[in-house]
Amino acid sequence: MGGGKGECMVPSRVFSSRSSVFGPSRDSGREAVGRGSGPGPARPVSGTGFRRRLQVVVFTLFRGAAVVNGLVLLVILGFLAWNGWRSVSWTFLTQAPTNSMTAGGIFPCIAGTFLLSFGAMVVAFPWGVASAVYLHEYARPGMPVRMIRLGVTNLAGVPSVVFGLFGLALFVTWMGLGVSVLAGVLTLGALVLPVIIGTAEEALKAVPATYREASLALGATKWQTIYRVVLPAAFPGMLTGAILAVSRAAGETAAIMFTAAVFFTPHLPSSLLDPVMALPYHIYVLATAGTNIEATRPLQYGTALTLILMVFGMNLVAIYYRARLQRRF
């Protein structure tokens, strides 16, 4: 696969992988060519006025496209924040739903979402990292590796509802786990596995080859090099990938609908074989099938706002952390 194209397909769902997004290395070279073509007067171009005006018009259009994305994000966020902030209070976050889910808080959902997403990480993180180590450190180009990469790419593209069906058939039914935390964790683990593999591989790629060479030259074996030198150096990068994967698992709905989440359960799960409530599923249920959809609107906004704050919080941490990491090597 070698080139950048193949690798960037795997983590397409997270966008975390492009290691040099903020990196000075990529910009410095490009600046020389594109300098001055940003906002402000266009770079002096040879040619007629028409060509220059065309460029100004087209670039404005492109800038507009980028602005549209920002606006959409702002509108969604603003709308949720505007309608939701009144609902989110300490009691809302720490109490269970009451009155057949038309009042009260969302604590069981928060707990369930935490349990599911971190549980998924416990399953998927070691596995994904080990896969990435194989793909980046051991594998030589050839059929098996090509198959594995294709497998990872395709796994990343499997719709979440199909993961839900898979979890229902394998974990819930065949393995007899029932609708439970464990079944949900395993399903979500499979779902985020490609994300982890993709980001972990990027992290390994960012470790300079000189590190490995130095270790090997000192007489260390390949495994000793990986274990003592490469993995510690790549670990922070892998961690940002893990954070993104947690945030993705936390927002996932369709995969846990049949495997882990229930409308309502009066108590918190006491074992891994109990079903849970989860934030995303709670939003869906309240908004479409609740006992009184209009009356619970404030609850819906509040739940959505809580979920989005959790997910965005994790993402912003990962983005910030990654930007800092890139100045390291």
Partner: protein, 297 residues
């Protein structure tokens, strides 16, 4: 004779190979279990009738299991969302990679990433409580939960995918090509349009295919926003019921291992094959037109 060290190294190597192989195993298991739970329906309905039957009444007696309306709905929703997301995604990518100043990029990149991080249920919720009433009032149509609304919401789910993969492709265009074009007197826009865009077309296509694959499989948005009518749509403002929505909505009600249950798993097979096809296509495009260096162009 292998030393202890060598044996250990070989063992570790195989251990890592085995863990990496699990991804394929999971994919294989998904296929096996989908087929195991889905194929029994074909003893009741022929494959042809299942795919092209136009009546989806799984709970009527006798039930009808024709997923054609769901299939059409999925294709329609994906196509219309692509009409919005492809131009928007590619244009944003070109802006980020070529036009934006370094500082603008530091703001715009996280925006696209956060857009990607929005949980689908939140986008679905937004489409339901904001977009739907708005469309209903503004366009004076019977329901705001329809094909158009779902396509619009889905578009913003595939934009980040399209954008980030395209941006990578545009960035990996060798700098010499760009410099050569500029040196010949082309404007920056002419360079983008005539040199950079063609050179990165394969990467952009990969992004577009993967973005569309995401739209086909997206569940919560179509479940909450598409309206849910299992009919072949006659206009863009009619409610529809794409495949993922049908599976997610009905699985809870379908009795365990009933025909309905089998039919939903069979729908899952169709959906799965759809996305695998998209992914293989994307991989093929990426492999075939891989950019190696300036010399290959």
């Amino acid at each position: 004779m292998m030393t202890h060290r060598q044996i250990k190294e070989t063992f570790i190597r195989w251990f890592f190979f085995a863990t990496a192989f699990v991804s394929i195993l999971v994919l294989f298991l998904i296929l096996v279990f989908l087929f195991m739970e889905g194929v029994p329906i074909f003893s009741k309905v022929s494959v042809w009738k299942f795919l092209f039957g136009t009546n989806w009444y799984p709970t009527a007696s006798p039930p009808d299991f024709g997923i054609f309306p769901l299939l059409v709905a999925s294709v329609a929703v994906t196509t219309f969302s692509a009409l919005i997301s492809i131009p928007l995604g590619v244009m944003t990518a070109i802006y980020l990679a070529e036009i934006a100043s370094a500082r603008m990029r530091e703001i715009a990149k996280p925006v696209v990433e956060l857009l990607a991080a929005l949980p689908s249920v939140v986008i679905g919720f937004f489409g339901m409580v904001v977009m739907a009433p708005f469309l209903q009032d503004y366009l004076e149509i019977p329901t705001g939960l329809n094909l158009f609304n779902a396509s619009l919401m889905l578009a913003f789910m595939s934009v980040p995918t399209i954008c980030s993969i395209s941006e990578d492709a545009i960035y990996s265009v060798p700098r010499e090509l760009k410099e050569a074009s500029l040196a010949l007197g082309a404007t920056h826009w002419e360079t983008i349009y005539r040199v950079i865009f063609p050179a990165s077309l394969s990467g952009i296509s990969t992004g577009v295919i993967l973005g569309m694959s995401r739209a086909v499989g997206e569940t919560m948005v179509v479940l909450m926003v598409a309206g849910g009518a299992a009919l072949v749509p006659t206009s863009i403002f009619k409610p529809v019921r794409p495949m993922p929505a049908s599976i997610a909505a009905e699985m809870a009600e379908a009795p365990f291992r009933s025909d309905h249950y089998y039919a939903l798993f069979a729908t899952g097979i169709v959906l799965f094959l759809f996305t695998v096809l998209f992914n293989l296509l994307a991989d093929m495009v990426a492999q075939k037109h891989k950019q190696v260096g300036a010399a290959t162009l």
